[in-house]
Amino acid sequence: MALSNEEIKRYSRQIIVPNIGVKGQLKLKESKVIVIGAGGLGCPVISQLSGAGIGTIGILDYDTVDLTNLHRQLLHTVNDINCEKVKSVERNIKERNPNVNVITYNVLLNSSNALNILSSYDIVVDATDNVPTRFLLNDACVLLKKPLVSGSALQLEGQITVYNYNKGPCYRCIFPKPPPAETIQNCSDAGVISPVTSLIASLQSMEVLKIILNHDNVLTEKLLIYDAADVSFRKIKLRGRNPSCEVCGDNPTIKELIDYEQFCGTCAEDKNPNLKILKHDQRMTVQEYANMKEEHLLIDVRSPNEFEICHLKDAINLPIKTIQSGKTDVKLVNDMKLKQVIFVCRRGNDSQIASKYFSEKFNIQSKDIIGGLYEWNNSIDKEFPIY
């Protein structure tokens, strides 16, 4: 294989970097990388790897573009809303670098398709947004003996490392058990900011290039943590490969992919499930609330930032975090005992948790609004902002 004149000119600025050269550029051209997730991490990774001249790039994402993606998922445009993410990304690559062979997979990665899809690639980039898929990718990469370049971001922090590379640890060596489902925060609830995802993605891209170029200092057995609030990078030393790891150890018990949603107790997407905590008669519909004439206390349990975005008339803000840490103002609790209390939140999950909490702790009988403010927008007031 050789480089064409067009390729020599196109990649000249990176070919003259001492660590790359023509040999390095040829290695990039011969390599096959798959990026799982075409979102906040995936977009910059795909953009940089395709620009750098990776020969074959696989892109896997089951989702469609939403307006809430555009602030950080910089390859999608307003015209792409409701269209497949893989399509807008593919178009973007083709417009900038038609040399790249792009293969798209508009599917949710799962235990039955993962090995088949990943087996044709040299390196796997984890740019996903949920715990079950991270375990699935790890186990698949161990079984297929492929390095996994893993990045994650939330709010003002990001983390990146390379698993299963050069006898280093896999994800399970470090995290043998999934975190409890209720401790997991996702982008749609906790928030995420573009410079953080883009920065972590850039670091992932660089590690991919270093693996292809056989660089001797790949980020394995170490975790790099970026904290935008501190403007700090911390590179921490992780344990090595665990000889008794269930999947990459000397006597592995996991020899084929398992059910990762069951293993983690959560869904393989960052969308929220509908909790069913309260009985039907402890809840009310948005229509019932809209028609409610009696005096009542409407308590919105979202975070102060979300409350500031939008709230219903006369609602007061009591964040679920404040409730759960037992810090609810005593005066408010007394007031709640005297009035009919209605809890509301974004989708009708935290409002149930709040209602149950006050029922158990203070014997306060309350109701919550089914479907929360999403449903209010859907059925009552189309002008009410949703996010």
């Binding site: 991490l41 994650s152 995290f175 925060q185 996702n186 921490i236 344990r239």
Partner: protein
């Protein structure tokens, strides 16, 4: 004995949202991570215990570091805390 304690990845929300603390521990006794976790539970934890601990250990999904090194390499619960140690609790992130 003076030590530094810090939190990251959102673990700070369990501890009154304070990311960094300077602590003075009673020097007359020996401190291990095991006893320090109990101290944290009794004196610093502001959220529910199960979001931080499972039994006497830290719950899955929180990395414990001593001077930027995974505690697994240093004896985990049995590690004996030294003056000026920097102990960190980092919650792993999953978003993207």
């Amino acid at each position: 004995m003076e030590i530094k304690l810090d939190f990251g990845g959102g673990a700070e929300v369990l501890f009154d949202n304070i990311k960094k603390r300077d602590l003075t521990l009673d020097s007359s006794k020996k401190w291990t991570i095991r006893t320090f976790l109990q101290y944290m539970k009794e004196n610093l934890l502001t959220d529910r215990e199960e979001l931080f601990l499972q039994g006497e250990c830290v719950r899955p999904g929180i990395l414990v570091l001593i001077n930027d090194t995974d505690w697994e390499l240093l004896g985990e619960l049995d590690y004996e805390i030294q003056p000026n140690d920097n102990i960190s609790f980092i919650s792993t992130l999953h978003g993207g």
